[in-house]
């Protein structure tokens, strides 16, 4: 059995008038079942671009991407939609719950698009909500919950489809540090229970909660190794300067 996620020599190139931007500049990355990987890097380093490709929301300009052994790098929109539905669970910075649907209806959405029967949808949504401890709020609207609770609902939604990979893009970005830590602890727990988690963040203190850190800079991987290695959290000098210049 191969790797769960396997990116080979992946490029994402944007043409902006005369200028070409290499958002991803030759990425090789493999993630195995049960890993907890944090992708870090400063602003503009290509994290979101990588996340979009890993999340099958976008295709690379060149290079190949296999997810669960399937080549997904050349898929059509609707095929990608099916892969997202079956294999991926997204957790977004902005929670991205649909405001006019109840908590339970939100959690059921991926199951709805999978064509699962109403009964099973209810059952699995409630199970999922129980895992994040919000089963009693299932009739509420998202706006009636706190930010941390909403993020937990979005985690429940990501879990409901029993995905192979949980992709979290800055999941703590909109939360205060205490609830942020809570959400992180929750992701760690999911990982301990066997889920594969890919976390995207610009924050080193969050990245170190993962088991493995992949650091991007200018679309390239400049570090890939254990999270407890001191090298993992070293910010490259020039990049910091660049960030200051931008600020």
């Amino acid at each position: 059995m191969g790797h769960l996620i396997e990116l080979k020599n992946v490029y994402k190139i944007y043409q902006m008038g005369d200028e070409t931007v290499h958002a991803l500049d030759g990425i090789d990355l493999t993630v195995d079942q049960g890993e907890f990987v944090a992708i870090v890097g400063s602003s503009g380093s290509g994290k979101s671009t990588a996340m979009n490709i890993i999340g099958c929301l976008d295709v690379p300009t060149s290079g190949s991407y296999h997810l669960g052994g399937i080549d997904v790098s050349t898929m059509e929109d609707d095929q990608q939609a099916e892969i997202r539905n079956k294999m991926l669970g997204f957790i977004f910075q902005q929670y991205n719950l649909i405001p006019k649907l109840t908590v339970q209806e939100n959690v059921e959405l991926p199951l709805l698009y999978a064509g699962i029967s109403a009964e099973e949808r209810h059952e699995r949504a409630i199970q999922s909500l129980q895992r994040v401890g919000l089963a009693d709020k299932r009739k509420n609207l998202p706006s009636q919950l706190s930010g941390g609770q909403q993020q937990r609902v979005s985690i429940a939604r990501a879990l409901a489809g029993k995905p192979s990979v949980i992709l979290a893009d800055e999941p703590t970005g909109a939360l205060d540090s205490r609830t942020g830590r809570e959400v992180l602890r929750f992701l760690q727990q999911l990982n301990r229970e066997g889920d594969t988690v890919v976390l995207i963040t610009h924050d080193n203190s969050i990245a170190v909660k993962a088991k493995r850190i992949v650091r991007l800079q200018d679309g390239r991987i400049i570090y890939d190794g254990a999270a407890d290695d001191p090298q993992a959290v070293v910010q490259p000098q020039e990049d910091e300067a660049g960030e200051e210049a931008r600020a």
Binding site: L57, D58, D78, A81, I98, K100, L109, L112, Y113
Partner: protein, 407 residues
């Protein structure tokens, strides 16, 4: 995602902003209501006119002979027409001259200026049906008889209006002055119209030779009866052939049957109705554009929702069908409201028209047709789906990354 889900979602979004939903539907509501009202009125009109014609006798054949002018010696007279009836009893059952006289009708000191005076023969009244050729029964007394007609007697039969207003309900044996000549009333007809001045009840029938003497009518008119509604076209052909033989040109006469007039009237009404419905359909079209407009706004407003749904695995067709079903549901609800409104309005109009015409309940009734309702509803749903397609497609084609980033 299946239909019921999309449908429930559509209802939910509509309920969330009722005012906006109502405004979106307004064009459809007005269009559908207009179609219902027009078809109801048209249908009612057709029923009403058919009933009127039916009363006049659907087997009536009217013959108008203008002749070829003074110089021509060719002519057809009443005897020729009688001969025709005798020759073709399987098609023609009766004939009577029908002379419109211009005469002043006066009773006592009162002038009846709008009263019509007609000269007919005894055959104008049909014993087997107990009615005149134009469908009026006898209230009291008798109709003109052969002797009255043959001897040019000064007797007359009056309509119910005259009986009531000229003679205070007791006309038999009394006299009425027609262009200065006193006529004795021998019979009274039943009320067949609305018993008002100038109506079909405001009439006097006298022997036709007397009427001819009074002058006024241009050419000769005959009322004939076919044996049946279905034989009236054949009967018309027989009369026309005879007249063609005599005059050698179809300009000299005209033959009309009630059945044909009824059909012509029906088809005219149908055409008129089609035109009106087309005009109403324009408002359906405008309604459709209204829906499209709101749906486009809605797609933009819900860009992020679309992005979320796509990230969770919604395919293009899931998104497209969601928005199309939403548009279809909106217009279907609008259509249903329009139908209810249209039926109510048709009822109101029926009462208003009855009031204006003074015909009471057995007069004009605007009846909504099942076909009209079905078509109006079908078209409104179709309009929603058709005009929902463009926005729905726009939504379906959104790039999930851009859509997720949108706020």
């Amino acid at each position: 995602m299946n239909f019921t889900q999309s449908f429930k979602l559509a209802i939910k979004s509509l309920m969330l902003s009722k005012m906006r939903a109502l405004l979106t539907m307004l064009g459809i509501i007005i269009g559908v209501a207009a179609v219902i009202i027009i078809t109801s009125l048209g249908n009612g009109m057709q029923n009403y006119m058919n009933a009127q014609f039916e009363q006049l006798g659907s087997n009536l054949v009217q013959v108008m002979i203008y002749g070829l002018g003074e110089d021509s010696t060719r002519s057809v007279d009443a005897d020729d027409m009688y001969a025709l009836v005798e020759k073709y009893p399987q098609y023609l059952s009766g004939v009577s001259p029908y002379v419109t006289a211009s005469a002043k009708v006066r009773q006592g000191t009162e002038d009846f200026e709008r009263t019509s005076v007609y000269g007919v023969s005894e055959d104008f009244y049909r014993d087997e049906t107990g009615k005149t050729m134009q469908g009026a029964g006898l209230e009291e007394g008798r109709f003109l008889r052969y002797v009255d007609v043959a001897r040019h007697q000064n007797v007359c039969v009056v309509g119910s209006f005259l009986a009531e207003y000229a003679f205070q309900g007791d006309p038999l044996g009394q006299t009425i002055s027609i262009s200065g000549v006193p006529y004795t009333v021998v019979g009274v007809l039943e009320e067949s119209g609305d018993n008002t001045e100038g109506s079909g009840d405001d009439v006097v029938y006298i022997p036709y030779a007397n009427a001819q003497r009074l002058g006024g009518g241009y050419g000769d008119t005959y009322m004939m009866t076919a044996t049946d509604r279905d034989t009236s076209t054949a009967a018309k052909g027989i009369v026309e052939n005879r007249l063609m033989d005599v005059y050698q040109t179809s300009d000299a006469y005209m033959v009309m049957t009630s059945a044909e007039m009824m059909d012509a009237m029906d088809s005219m009404l149908d055409t008129l109705m089609m035109i009106l419905i087309l005009i109403a359909a324009i408002s359906l079209l405008v309604g459709g554009i209204g829906i499209m407009n709101i749906m486009l706004v809605s797609v933009t407003e819900r860009t992020r929702e679309i992005g979320i749904r796509k990230s969770l695995g919604a395919k293009c067709r899931d998104i497209r069908s969601q928005f199309i079903i939403e548009a279809g549901t909106t217009s279907a609800i609008g259509g249903a409201i329009g139908i209810v409104l249209g039926i109510i309005m048709a009822n109101v109009l029926t009462n208003v028209i009855a009031l204006v015409l003074g015909t009471g309940n057995d007069g004009f009734v605007a009846v909504p047709t099942v076909g009209g309702i079905g078509v109006a509803f079908g078209v409104s749903v179709a309009v929603g789906i058709l005009f929902g397609y463009l926005p729905a497609n726009k939504a379906a084609k959104l790039n999930p990354i851009d859509a997720l980033r949108y706020d």
